[in-house]
């Protein structure tokens, strides 16, 4: 049962990268990313999300962010404050790519900067209620570079 899963200690697992096939043809690849935080967050807290694979930046228009049974564009994420990235299920980033990825190791740089929506550094409670214009929330840089293996083409 999903409720009984031990949660992932890291964002991308060994089986996190695979090719994406439609009608028997590879039309892209899928990167599964767990939220590397201690609690779930609204998708609108994603301030920056970008991908570089094998040294080449991926055009964000070619990325579909799949979560909770839904499929979103990266540009939509900032408005999705009623959609949550919870801890036990990874987001699936589908990257459209005519060649997909070869079997073997690939270097993935995942840029993820999160706005932590309940911490405002430098403000105390005493100033916070008076200062509704200033919205400087804590930013958490969750980016990283890792080698991930595509197990089969």
């Amino acid at each position: 049962m999903a409720e009984n899963q031990i949660l992932a200690p890291k964002a991308i697992h060994d089986d996190g990268l695979s090719n994406y096939c439609v009608n028997g043809k590879v039309i892209g690849y899928i990167l599964k990313v767990y939220l590397n935080y201690y609690r779930s967050l609204e998708l609108s807290c994603i301030e920056k999300l970008a991908l570089t694979v094998d040294g080449k930046a991926v055009d964000s228009h070619n990325i579909t962010f799949c979560i909770n049974g839904k499929r979103f564009m990266i540009s939509q994420l900032k408005d999705l404050f009623a959609e949550y990235w919870s801890l036990e299920t990874p987001a699936e980033l589908i990257v459209m790519s005519p060649t997909g990825l070869s079997k073997g190791d690939h270097e993935v740089t995942f840029t993820l900067i999160l706005r932590v929506p309940y911490i405002i550094p430098g403000h105390t409670i005493d100033t916070m209620w008076k200062d509704f214009k200033n919205q400087e929330f804590w930013r958490w840089d969750n980016s990283g570079t890792m080698t991930v293996t595509v197990l089969e083409k």
């Binding site: 409720e3 009984n4 609690r39 609108s44 919870s86 036990e88 105390t124």
Partner: protein, 322 residues
């Protein structure tokens, strides 16, 4: 004074190293019968968990004969990219959380410190309708005597409701910095004289901007400045606010027994529990204090061992005569 305080455990202590069922099994094994959940961490589907999830958790409580004391929510003031939530929106989210606290069988709902007193006052009749006590957590850098906490107390005096209150986290009563944090900073480059200057400054309640100027004059690095401003650093007062604690006791509906670890003599490393617990006991508080281990950021000590140790320390203090 007869001790009526009961001791629970916050599942938050284990972070995500245990499933909820394993956390409950562990809690039972160490002799506790009550727990808190931080819903955004532990309850899949938060803020709108499924019926299946509700059945699962209430089923675990029956199976293992444990009580859920607090269902904790979040006030995600900055969830939108364009503006903060309004008071109405904070009210709406908290009301939703109180509904689910009721569905999960919780006695208490923890609200984060971002929700203003006026909104907590509005929640009172709804909390009563759902038979869940809603409390705002007093978490560092707040202390019981902070103006913000006094604002809640003024509201409580007018609202006269048993269904809204405060949840002090013991971290708000720390009287020194977290030793592990200080050691880590110094191990990674912060010089003794800079650290001493920062600690002195905070003990003397200097504004951070002034302390920053002082340490920059002393040649502080950007890492040193980051240490100064880090949320885990300036979380103490030179003297623990025990008088403030006494003043707010009538409004306390739950407590978080926050701790980071113990020194060689078995004392809490930064929270004077020997003084805090008798105050709460002697007031006649008969609710729970829920252990919350937060040393996992700094050491690889086993959270379970640490909680067992803490419970023994708390029992010893509570059963001793002053």
């Amino acid at each position: 004074m007869v001790n009526k305080i009961k001791l629970g455990v916050r599942v938050f202590s284990f972070r995500n190293t245990k499933t909820l069922e394993d956390a409950i099994k562990t809690i039972v094994k160490i002799g506790a019968d009550a727990f808190d959940v931080t819903a955004s961490m532990t309850i899949k589907g938060y803020p709108w968990p499924s019926e299946q999830m509700i059945e699962y958790v209430t089923g675990l409580c029956s199976q293992y004969k444990v009580k859920l004391i607090s269902y904790d929510g979040n006030v995600d003031l900055g969830m939108r990219c364009d503006r903060r939530l309004t008071e109405d929106e904070m009210f709406g989210y908290a009301l939703n959380d109180i509904y689910y606290a009721h569905r999960f069988g919780a006695e208490v709902h923890r609200i984060q410190w971002l929700l203003p007193p006026s909104v907590l006052a509005r929640l009172a009749p709804y909390a009563e309708a759902y038979d869940v006590k809603a409390g705002v957590e007093i978490h560092s850098p707040l202390i019981p005597s902070s103006p913000a906490v006094k604002a809640y107390v003024r509201m409580f005096e007018k609202a006269k409701s048993n269904y809204i209150g405060l949840i002090p986290d013991f971290g708000s009563l720390a009287d020194r910095p977290i030793k592990f944090f200080v050691d880590d900073a110094m191990r990674t480059g912060t010089k003794t004289e800079i650290m001493d200057c920062m600690i002195d400054g905070i003990n003397n309640k200097l504004p951070e901007s002034r302390i920053e100027k002082q340490i920059r004059k002393m040649g502080a690095t950007e890492q040193d400045v980051a240490v100064l401003h880090h949320p885990m650093f300036h979380q103490w007062e030179a003297e623990s606010d025990l008088e403030g604690l006494k003043d707010i006791l009538p409004y306390c509906i739950h407590f978080h027994g926050k701790f980071f670890g113990f020194d060689e003599d078995g004392n809490d490393i930064n929270i004077p529990v020997g003084k805090i617990l008798p105050i709460i006991r002697d007031f006649g508080y008969d609710g729970y204090i829920a252990s919350e281990y937060e040393g996992n950021k700094f050491t690889s000590a086993d959270p379970v061992d640490q909680i067992v140790k803490q419970r023994a320390l708390y029992q010893k203090i509570l059963e001793s005569c002053d």
